[in-house]
């Protein structure tokens, strides 16, 4: 088994940081996490002397690391990962996933690569998890809106639930909109027509 690395992880996204930490720890690496911590990053790096710093690309702390790479002469000196490499595919996939990394000068690239691959994979799966969650939330909100619109239509048009749903579906097809969107419009219009209903609805 290769020598474990000391990794400093800078990420404000608690769930994602936990995912990355767990994955790296399971490969034997020692991980120090820095969440939304007021300690300055300079002090963190000086104290923990990590071999690798993995940082969320959206973190405002990135410029601090970039400048340490240039200004600090002491060892271990962090340098930007990929700085000397012309591997644009690897760089591209890291940027797309939102991962950036800084490593100690002189560390064998292949060893860092495996750490990067793990981080990129976790960042990507977190991203798709979040998309999935957003989609589920939207679906739930849509369903609630449809129920509410059906209720209003039934009252307003004196029809049954089945007919109300068919009305919504027809509107959606005619306008080329999602049924959830149409339901939202129907609610807006019908509630304006009879404001009293709104109070009762709540």
């Amino acid at each position: 088994m290769p020598q474990p690395l000391k990794v400093l992880l800078v990420d404000d996204e608690i769930v994602r940081a936990a995912m990355v930490e767990e994955a790296l720890a399971s490969e034997g690496h020692a991980v120090v996490c820095r969440l939304a911590n007021p300690t300055s990053l300079n002090d963190m790096v000086a104290r923990h002397q990590p071999d690798v710093v993995i940082i969320d690309m959206e973190s405002p702390d990135r410029d601090t690391l970039d400048s340490m790479a240039l200004l600090h002469r002491e060892n271990p000196r962090p340098v930007v990962f990929f700085a000397d490499q012309h591997d644009s595919d690897a760089l591209q996939s890291a940027v797309k996933a939102g991962v950036s990394a800084y490593v100690v000068d002189g560390l064998v690239p292949s060893r860092v690569k495996s750490v990067m691959d793990v981080a990129i994979a976790r960042f990507e799966s977190f991203q798709s998890m979040r998309l999935e969650l957003d989609r589920a939330r939207n679906q739930l909100a849509d369903r609630k809106r449809i129920e509410r619109a059906k209720g209003l239509l039934m009252k307003h048009q004196s029809c049954d639930e089945e007919q109300a749903y068919r009305m919504l579906r027809k509107l959606a097809m005619d306008r080329g909109q999602r049924i959830g969107e149409v339901a939202g419009n129907v609610i807006d219009i019908l509630e304006q027509l009879s404001p009293g209903q709104q109070e009762k609805g709540k």
Binding site: N42, D66, S67, L70, V95
Partner: protein, 355 residues
């Protein structure tokens, strides 16, 4: 008028090619000198050139740089030295980058915490050298009383005018930027908080952050970039060379729109006020400028009335490259002049604006 004349006139009229991209995205860092981009968008100058530009607020210069290099942004509001640093591959894989338009000149302030700035007159009443000497005296006193921790001063990014200005100012006071102080980088919106929390003792940054620190009584402006490097280019529009080759008509449209925005700033009396109102919108500077003295801010905005100064002029950038060379020399790197000339060439500006 004869038919021949008409047809000659028709061929003589400038043919403006349609931009290849109808919509695109440019990155910016929340600073007053992002104003020209904001004016070009909010004032409809980009639209008038047939491009729908969205402005994307970024958290760090390095992230903005990486997104431009990776094609996730079409271009960005960049620190003047950044396109050269990108082309040379300083701090990341080399990526040929151009600066076809200057977006601002000077506009930086040097701020020290109240404790450090004690006894320092404001920049209008003294020379930058005097205040730098006062800092030197203060640092000497501190050392004599046994203070172990050096003063920690922040700039925004290693390849920035703020870093170069800070080094220049320290050198004026016979303070070695390498050993006399500790230099760190922080993104502009974090400066004021870091000063309040005592993480740093001073900084050099673009407005409004220096004025804001002073307004809140956390620090004082002790020197201005304009006095240290008069007229230096501060921000540029940065695009990769490959982007410029793929979308020449789009680039020309951006250049013309920015020039029109600058003309509007030059000519309209209420332009500074309107610009401040746009800048105060949420995606841009948000609430940060709300409490600042409108008078000062308006004059800062008026400083952005660049006129002809939008055109990249090589001598200014050669000076900048020379200062970067001083920094790089310590690492045994050499900046070559063909790269400087290509980065800061006015050829795109002239092609877009010389009818």
């Amino acid at each position: 008028m004869s038919d021949t004349n008409l047809s000659t006139m028709a061929t003589a009229a400038p043919i403006i090619p349609i931009p290849e991209l109808s919509s695109l995205s440019l990155g910016f860092i929340p600073l007053l000198d992002a104003a020209l981009l904001v004016v070009a968008r909010e004032g409809g100058f980009f639209m008038a050139e047939g491009v729908d530009v969205s402005l994307s607020r970024e958290n760090a210069w390095s992230t903005l740089r990486d997104k431009v290099a990776a094609g996730m942004l079409d271009g960005a509001h960049m620190l003047a030295p950044m396109p050269l640093a990108m082309s040379l591959g300083l701090a990341r894989a080399p990526c040929e980058t151009l600066a076809p338009v200057v977006l601002s000149r000077h506009g930086n302030t040097l701020v020290l915490s109240e404790r450090y700035a004690e006894g320092m007159p404001s920049p209008g009443q003294t020379s930058p050298t005097d205040n730098a000497h006062r800092l030197r005296q203060y640092l000497d006193q501190r050392r004599q009383t046994g203070a172990r921790v050096p003063a920690r001063l922040a700039m925004v990014y290693p390849w920035s005018c703020q870093h170069l200005l800070l080094r220049q100012w320290l050198t004026l006071g016979d303070i070695d930027p390498q050993s006399g102080v500790e230099l760190v980088a922080l993104p502009p919106p974090r400066m004021v908080d870091a000063l309040r929390e005592g993480q740093i003792d001073g900084f050099c940054v673009g407005e409004p952050w220096g004025s804001l620190a002073q307004h809140r009584g956390l620090g004082r402006i002790v020197a201005r970039g304009a006095d240290l490097m008069p007229g230096h280019p501060e921000k540029v529009l940065g695009v990769t060379a490959s982007w410029a080759r793929r979308y020449p008509a789009t680039l020309a449209a951006l250049i013309r729109a920015l020039r029109a925005a600058a003309n509007w700033l030059n000519c309209e009396v209420d332009a500074p006020q309107r610009t401040l109102e746009w800048l105060a919108l949420p995606p841009y500077l948000d609430h940060s400028i709300q409490h600042l003295d409108q008078q000062t801010l308006s004059s800062d905005i008026a400083d952005l009335r660049l006129g002809d100064a939008l055109r990249p002029n090589l001598p200014d950038f050669t000076t900048l490259a020379g200062q970067m060379q001083d920094l790089l020399g310590q690492q045994g790197r050499q900046i070559d002049s063909p790269t400087v000339e290509q980065c800061y060439s006015a050829v795109h500006f002239d092609a877009a604006t010389h009818q």
